[in-house]
Symmetry: C2
Subunit: 430 residues, 2 copies
């Protein structure tokens, strides 16, 4: 059997401890699968004294994570600190510069610096791996890089944030509103005290940027992604979605179009018959569409100690076996600068919910705006009657270009009898 692969882990939070547990619990199994042992030789964390439920007495301890990059007893640095810049980035650069392979679960780091890091890793002939950065335990990056490598991918999309999916699922099951469910999710530890990163779609966008680069061989352009979160989804929207045969999901969608790539994160209405509609609670799912394989769906846990550590181990196994596939499926020098198409040019059906005063002429005014923008209505629902008072009107429209829809919604908002800003959710053909 070859020499062991010597592993240094930076960051001993939930995922770091999970990685240590797998290495300690499955030592023989991993050795059989890799043809060599995976050996935890060094760790780095802030507080050496903290009880973590794992025995670290055989490991070297580095108070400064950068010490791992300089440690001759480390072949691979596993970064589980987090953050797009700061120490995580410094550690990545130092480890690669020192000729060590680098494994991370840090989506922000890869979404912002993945291109430069991949170039550096290729120059040094070391591996850069980040399976755990997207969709937790689901080995979807490897699937795109290896399992679907015979395909040109036309679209990849998914439920990439478990917190948002938990909230949307709970809203649907209980009928309660966003704020109440968020508070409950925070109490249960499914949402952070500062939930902005998750619920405003930034976390999903980080993951989408990585998926998109892997699927299309495109250089990452995180800043070009259109991002909306789930804060404005109301219990009413969830109800109407059900009535119309849809469920609301926060999706990250990347799609090859003739002018470039669509890259967007926003709430979507997806038909109830689709696989993605049935992915509930904290589960994640990714769907890839290739020209030969057609549609493949991957579903599993997108976060947590075990699933994320499982993905980190998949990378370590690759490295131990000597697998040397390019980080983004093609060499970093071959990544293309493919433009991200502006959201204004998106075409699709839309759902719109209005609060209007129930009086003659309102619907005529709304539909006149749609007609003026050449928007074709598919359905209109008004529940109940309350002459002279506020009622909800929901309408769906056929395929429409986003800029037309935006103009129409601005004009509708100006109609005097429309008493709240219109709510809009895109309907997605899957």
């Amino acid at each position: 059997m070859s020499d062991s692969l010597k592993i240094g882990v930076a960051g001993l939070g939930t995922v770091g401890v999970g990685v240590v547990k797998i290495l300690q619990c499955h030592g023989d199994l991993l050795a059989a699968r890799c043809g060599r042992r995976l050996e935890l030789t060094a760790v780095s964390a802030r507080d050496r004294g903290r009880e973590r439920g794992v025995d670290l007495s055989a490991c070297r301890w580095h108070g400064d994570p950068l010490g791992l990059a300089a440690d001759p007893q480390v072949d691979v640095v596993v970064e589980l600190i987090g953050g797009e810049d700061g120490v995580a980035w410094a550690l990545a650069e130092a480890a690669i510069a020192a000729g060590k392979s680098f494994v991370t679960a840090n989506k922000a780091l890869i979404a912002h610096h993945g291109d430069a890091l991949a170039r550096a890793a290729e120059d040094k002939g070391v591996a850069l791996c980040f399976e755990a950065a997207v969709a937790g335990g689901i080995p979807v990056l490897k699937a795109l890089r290896d399992g679907l490598a015979g395909n040109e991918i036309s679209r990849v999309y998914g439920i990439l944030n478990g917190t948002c999916n938990y909230i949307l699922t709970a809203m649907r099951k209980t009928g309660r509103d966003f704020a109440a469910i968020l508070a409950e999710a925070q109490a249960r530890g499914y949402a952070e005290a500062d939930p902005a990163f998750d619920i405003d779609g930034v976390d999903s966008a980080h993951k989408l940027a990585i998926l998109s680069a892997m699927a299309f061989g495109a250089r990452i352009n995180f800043g070009a992604i259109h991002i909306e979160g789930v804060r404005n989804i109301s219990a009413l929207d969830i109800d109407y979605a059900a009535e119309l045969g849809y469920r609301i999901k926060l999706l990250g969608i990347a799609r090859r179009v003739s002018e470039g790539i669509e890259q967007r994160v926003h709430p979507c209405m997806v038909a109830e018959g689709t696989a993605i509609a049935h992915v509930e609670d904290v589960f994640n799912a990714v769907v890839a569409e290739g020209d030969f394989v057609d549609r493949v769906v991957f579903e599993g846990r997108g976060a947590g100690e075990g699933p994320t550590a499982s993905a980190v181990l998949a990378d370590l196994v690759d490295i131990a076996r000597g697998v040397c596939a390019p980080a983004f499926s093609v060499p970093a020098t071959a990544l293309q600068d493919i433009p991200t198409t502006p959201m204004d040019t998106h075409v699709g059906p839309y759902y719109v919910r209005l609060s209007v005063i129930d009086r003659p002429g309102v619907i005529a005014a709304v539909t006149a705006v749609l007609r003026d923008e050449d928007i074709s209505m598919e359905s209109l629902i008004q529940r109940g009657r309350a002459p002279g008072e506020g009622v909800t009107v929901v309408l769906t429209v056929h395929d429409t270009r986003e800029d037309r829809m935006t103009r129409a919604l601005a004009r509708i908002a100006e109609i005097e009898a429309v008493i709240e800003p219109p709510a809009m959710i895109r309907i997605i053909h899957l």
Copy 2:
């Protein structure tokens, strides 16, 4: 860029032509992904003159597939002929003996000879790959071998045969009986003229044997698999399943238990809320459960030109990149002889459908048998009344050992008022 990988394809049926199409259509993309070109240098098929819609003029032609194993212009032999023995097996042995890597979509070959072929390939230091043998385009073998390699797998199961799933789906949607749907499936080309291999579960069992070896590091023991097909599923069973909150699926299930491994293919009632229940028509799905990753679901097309060729390409990409993971995730010499537990020791809930004469005392006689075998009933449904005539009685029972259930059903069949052999379907906790 390194030398090209020279590929010889044996068998130019649907899948073979699909492989040629991908190689010709995605030459540059594959070269970028692999760091070298994938070059089709030779082919073998029976009829050289047949029009196949692909240009083979640049390839060497071998009338005898074994010629590929001897061709110095071939690095990898791709076997798409089929059949567990005969020329496919001879070609596998010859190619590996000649120091060539061997890729196949042939599940029967691997289920019967995979162990010996893996040993031979390891001795020669060449690759043996068969991603296309299980679940078509879904890269599930790689997921088990690589993506989930940090886990001990406790259970792997799935819908492994698209023909059966199409038939069961159509029965559910139309209410028609098995024979009518099978005839229609044959007319549409979804079922073979001789459908026995598919509908009797043998094809699913071949795939299960491979999944099981990959998941558990167990030496393949195809003969030990319990196999039942879908011939005896009636429209009545489909109806009652829906009434009870289940769908009927033909599953292949392999599960690690303390005494060994359960390996079985049979119709199952699965709860409607599960991901697998929503996998319809010709789609396949595989679910893997690991100790750290929890549950991961993979869904996609299990057959057809494009999906199967996509899986073959995934193997060729691995080989071109120099990936050298063991065929069954651990070296063939490390595969363990793990006993397959007898079906008699299976424990689970059951569904039973009886045709009985509607007269006093029948239910008492049936339930007395259950009591005598210590079987605990969960529900009993009798639809309609027809004193003195035949009616259907459906019952479900809580967790029961299979041998008790078998004895009970034999005794129930002997009750005079029971006028047809009882139908039994296992309910599966997922």
